[in-house]
Symmetry: D2
Subunit: 342 residues, 4 copies
């Protein structure tokens, strides 16, 4: 059976990545694509790399007949998403890729995003979309909130360790290196090739990055006590990929064993041999996350490194993984694409 | 039915690209992988991006039982390939990705490659692997010689024009821009990131590049008279992709119509609207070739631009396309992957 | 004696490059810097790489007291420049880096720039700033028009050949590869790192690029007959650098000798040994232009390759070279910086 | 007065960077250049970007008449350097850029470099070349050991803080991001453009990187007790630049004030306003080091970020800074070049 898919916000990178992945998905078919400012254009005009596909023209959201849609991906900007989703049919399955429904607590949302939530009822209904840890809830969900790409990377490294009690909860540091596509297709001076290539810098440092809201919510829930990690992202001259260097207090071997055991049946999470650390290049264009663990010369200290592709496992691939569950499909369907190297 | 595949020379980029593509090919299964110096290693050690696949360990060629192999891809270095293929069973289907069997005339081979051919009989038997123009021969072939990646790009732009007689055969210029993966994984100073990134230069200029042998052979055959193009490749700071700027004398509109008509049924060749030129980014990681045509302000002059991914359509994707034909499979099977952007 | 310098439009790349070069220029001192939208900011805020310099704050142009200025560089956008310069004191020495005064014929200006010129009198007065060919005029000039960066590159390859009559004037083709800083700091989707890195494409193809106006004007003047070259620029994933592959009909050895002789006393133009072609990496960050010549296998055809840094020799370095002449300083003063490699 | 300079190992990146900087140094003149395997070649052949300079041909070391040399830079590989320097005249001033004389304790040298030191007497004589902290000793020294580039970056961030006692000495973490030129011009698979561009990974993690020997020696000396930092370097797809994210326990404002005060008179060390963090792009090609400090949301935690160009301030620029002192020249002479951006 083929499920009919709509993508709202198809003119951004996560929208285009959804199209890329669904194009070879055996059980999904795109029936509607929206893009506000580019309505009327074909996808080949907006993204020539999709030229070979026979796709619907871009329309405005209110032109879509949602009665013909089985599941809708929302790849809209933050804040826009909550306003739009509030107007969609209440029985429509939705995977939202924005930040709007990630935080369950309206006060936390307002704290991190600077404005009150405009759809508090929906916020309560939404399930957090980190598939490997919310499978049952996602299967039963109508509205799933895709995680932040940085938040996903850090959680893959840390959740099993927090749950197993094998690290010090008060001394967790995430130094993260991120590719530029995570910033989207927005026109900002610091995203120009001339400004970004050939160098690196930190951003949103000092505990200001919004994905900290997700870390707080999720890690505190797993630990059943408040956990407040330190987190510094850095922007790198690469298009796809996140590498999280996660510094923890704990026994490196036990940490490695804990991750290995937690992920031994996971199709997308690969724990490397002890002492081997992963590269972002090895997951580019794929839904895989590679993890490595190494001890430090300072006793009792360990480094966990997790890598994933922010547009795939960190966003659109994760979204399809969740949609597969919501539609009763095999979780990995359409997602076993091999990374592209070099 | 699943066909059993061997890949010789699996530790190079074209070998790894074959593995990537076959991993999601519904009718092919890899049963043997060879790598001379890396025999004994797993593919995950040589190419960590293949870690999620359950692949055979790398062996030496003479450890492979070819009676269990239906088709063999040879991704070996030039000159090595002819020596190895001469020792393989005479009824084994082979797609060779090296330069060894591209030129039919032993004298031409010696001229361009600087040594006599060591397997002249096989050279005669081999079919030139530019699928779109040799389909029938390839279907019936035992040994197919994959084309040069630059040679493929130039031919996609020019063959229909030469065949149709719509351009001046004595004034053809190919200015080509190539990514670095075409040079393979070899350790050369000029391929280091520090030497290559951030700049560009021409190489093998002045009519010295070996792919000119292929251009001469094929264009002269199509034209039924000698055709000697000019050809200058440039190395660019990008990993995948070739862009050929092909300058011709002829009517641009007629040239565009000729290409459109020639390729209207081709699944992998996409002719853009007149006046629109393609980017290498739009075919990265895919088996597609995009072509564009524009007229010049100088009357009677036109520019044809062709782009493809050297590792896919220019090499390993083309090889699988040919293998599909040789095995009686649909030509596009396993090859309709969407490009990866950004 | 120290000359007092003003830079209008200091918040763009060519403005910043002027500051970089003047910072170590022994006879120039910056006394005023303007930037319309960023007036009030310090240069360290706009360009942190200039943090170590003690520079004037950015102001609006009308805040500058030009009576204290000996020479003014205008690094303003096209069209803005002519309007601003028309308001400046008539005895102020000016080097303009925009396109506004490059074309002498108002009709040609209107043809290429799509609007009538707003300061036709100044247009007549302006001297074309290709230093090596207009030295005497520049020494005596009040207003010098910096050349286009692509136009400079092509002219360094071709002017001596046209003057000497050693190439066919009706068959000249310039295939040019350009880094992205030439497009300036403007916010355009195609200049984003995610869109530009890792690939290449042609732009303004088909005889539409505005620098063709300069080629026409200058080559026709040198030849004393109309000369219309073909010219296709390509955008490359690099920040600095232009490489022009110039295809001509003529004897390669004679062409090489002609260039060698023409440039034997030029401090910034370096002709490589016959058969050696240059790389953009070898001139990055410097005022040098390297040139190479090679013959083709097709008799009577030759390739000339010229490389330079678009921000230095192609723009701000050239501007200072011209200013040196206008101020009676040694032409090379402050400009003998070695390229930065890697 | 012009000092006569020899550079041993001129065919590597640090050797070439020395040539670049000395080319515009008013008081130094290169009289001899050595390169073992490339002896007989001109520098223009080895490094075409130096083509405009009138340089001595490359020779073998034993061809150099050191009686005509005032100061010698050794840019030789580790281990080679100590063997060569042991054979040089005992009154020759030497700045060594290798790791051979950085560690004062022969046991520490053997521990980190895996072999006994072959010139223990010279090791005792050598002065550690971190100019800002060893000025007096360097002025009086005959043999100065240039620091590791990573080691320099970390020390600029930490030395004043350790000396002032404003951070917890038992909880210091350096997460470092390094460009590829630090690995030199060596032919390694992981340094190829195709392998390195577009991604990132950690290396020498877990307390194995040799620059830890320098950190231990210097920080323990400053603190007058053992200090063992944690240190993880990551390789980034950029050619020049190091960014050290240094995580410490302490009051961020006091840390910022401590750095500001320590460096207020330093010509090359620039402390940014509190809360502003630097980018590697802003020091590329220069001898500057920019430092920034920000507090964390976790009370009592702070982040110090230091950036420099590994080839300049991290190596060859530092070497010239030291040579200036050894020769009685102004410390900044020839080194005030502005960074190159973009």
């Amino acid at each position: 059976m083929t499920h009919r898919i709509a993508i709202l916000g198809a003119s951004g990178y996560t929208g285009a990545e959804l199209v890329r992945l669904i194009a070879t998905h055996p059980s999904m078919r795109i029936v509607a694509l929206s893009a506000d400012r580019k309505a009327g254009m074909s996808m080949a005009e907006v993204f020539p790399f999709l030229r070979h596909l026979d796709l619907a023209r871009l329309v405005k959201i209110d032109e879509i007949d949602f009665s013909t849609v089985d599941l809708c991906f929302c790849a809209l900007p933050h804040a826009t998403s909550q306003a739009v989703i509030a107007t969609l049919p209440r029985d429509l399955k939705i995977v939202d890729l924005s930040a709007d429904f990630r935080l369950r607590d309206p006060a936390e949302y307002e704290k991190w995003y600077g404005q009150p939530h405009a759809a508090v009822e929906l916020q309560k209904e939404a399930v957090y979309g980190l598939t490997e840890f919310y499978r049952d809830e996602i299967r039963a969900a109508r509205l799933v909130a895709g995680t932040g790409c940085n938040a996903a990377t850090g959680q893959f490294a840390l959740r099993p360790l927090i749950a197993a009690g094998v690290i010090d909860l008060d001394d967790i540091l995430i130094d993260l290196k991120a590719g530029v596509s995570g910033a989207g297709r927005s026109l900002k001076e610091n995203l120009l090739h001339a400004e970004l290539s050939g160098g690196t810098h930190a951003y949103s440092a000092g505990g200001k990055h919004r994905h900290l809201g997700e870390f707080d919510q999720e890690f505190s829930k797993v630990a059943d006590r408040p956990v407040h990690v330190r987190f510094t992202p850095h922007l790198l001259p690469m298009n796809r990929g996140i590498l999280a260097s996660v510094y923890v207090k704990g026994d490196a071997k036990i940490i490695h064993q804990t991750l290995e055991k937690a992920y031994e049946s996971e199709p997308f999470l690969k724990v490397l041999p002890f002492g081997t650390l992963p590269s972002t290049r090895d997951v580019a264009g794929s839904n895989f996350c590679h993890l490595g663990v190494i001890g430090d010369r300072v006793p009792g200290r360990a480094l966990v490194v997790a890598v994933l592709d922010n547009l795939t496992k960190g966003s659109s691939g994760q979204a399809i993984q969740n949609a597969n569950l919501m539609l009763g499909l095999p979780e990995t369907e359409g997602l076993m694409l091999t990374p592209v190297f070099p």
